[in-house]
């Protein structure tokens, strides 16, 4: 079974990525990198990443979130995070990345923030 499943939804000009599984060293991190590259290649640079289904993340996965953030910014876009689990929130706090990412608990509120 794959470490992670990444599904894509469109809400206006915002692309929502629903992640389900593990974002860890190896397959999970690579899958996320590829998904972000593909979206940027398609000109989709307003991205909301729903992490509600991510049961596990490690430093490699956190690094991939950061790489995604910088890659999207570089293309003039915006990457925001939705539905952090307590564990991910803890790790982002330890790494002080909560100061970097725009984080939401409510999808409608997150989508409205792009306007």
């Amino acid at each position: 079974m794959a470490d992670i499943t990444i599904s894509e939804r469109q809400a206006g000009d915002v692309t929502i990525l629903d992640l389900d599984g593990k974002v860890t060293i190896g397959e999970g991190s690579v899958a996320l990198r590829n998904a972000i590259r593909r979206l940027l290649g398609d000109g989709k640079n307003k991205i909301l990443m729903n992490l509600g289904g991510v049961g596990y993340i490690d430093s490699s996965g956190i690094g991939e979130l950061v790489s995604s953030f910088t890659a999207v910014n570089k293309e003039g876009g915006t990457l925001k995070l939705l539905n952090l689990t307590q564990k991910i929130q803890d790790l982002l706090a330890i790494t002080k990345l909560l100061t970097v990412f725009d984080v939401y608990e409510d999808e409608a509120e997150a989508l409205a923030s792009y306007n």
């Binding site: 860890t24 490690d58 430093s59 950061v66």
Partner: protein, 139 residues
């Protein structure tokens, strides 16, 4: 309950999951709860990933050696690689503003955050050992 477990794993990414699985079994055999298991899991994953990637550099000739030990001090974990070693104090602090957007360099921070003691040393017969301790385990 086993008082200690030792294992040798190849320098592949799959060893991270294998090490975490063995750690989970050991933690549970000690009768420890979810909080300890979660902390140990992350610390083992990060230390083994470092050993595979940065220590052994995926060299198929080099193994990663692990030891889990239940001691009066708590739960002790040793992870040895066979690489050239490094100076932990020279690893940049990933929480410094200038490093926040770097993709790498957070594994050691996680190990230090979730374990009570973490120290590195050069092994007499080569390679580097990281020793991590979780204190005062309640059952």
């Amino acid at each position: 309950m086993n008082e200690s477990i030792e294992l040798k794993l190849p320098s592949v990414i799959g060893s991270v999951d294998e090490a975490a699985s063995q750690a989970e079994s050991f933690v549970r055999s000690c009768g420890l709860g979810d909080d300890v298991a979660s902390a140990i899991d992350l610390a083992v994953r990060e230390s083994v990933a470092n050993a595979v990637k940065h220590g052994n550099k995926f060299d198929p000739e080099k193994m990663v050696e692990l030891k889990f030990l239940r001691s009066p001090k708590g739960l002790e974990i040793f992870v040895r690689d066979f690489g050239p070693g490094f100076a932990p104090e020279e690893i940049p602090d990933p929480t410094n503003p200038e490093n926040l957007l770097k993709a790498n360099g957070r594994g050691i921070l996680f190990m230090r955050s979730f374990m009570d003691e973490v120290e590195w040393s050069n092994h007499d017969d080569g390679g580097m050992v990281v020793k991590m301790i979780k204190w005062q385990l309640s059952q």
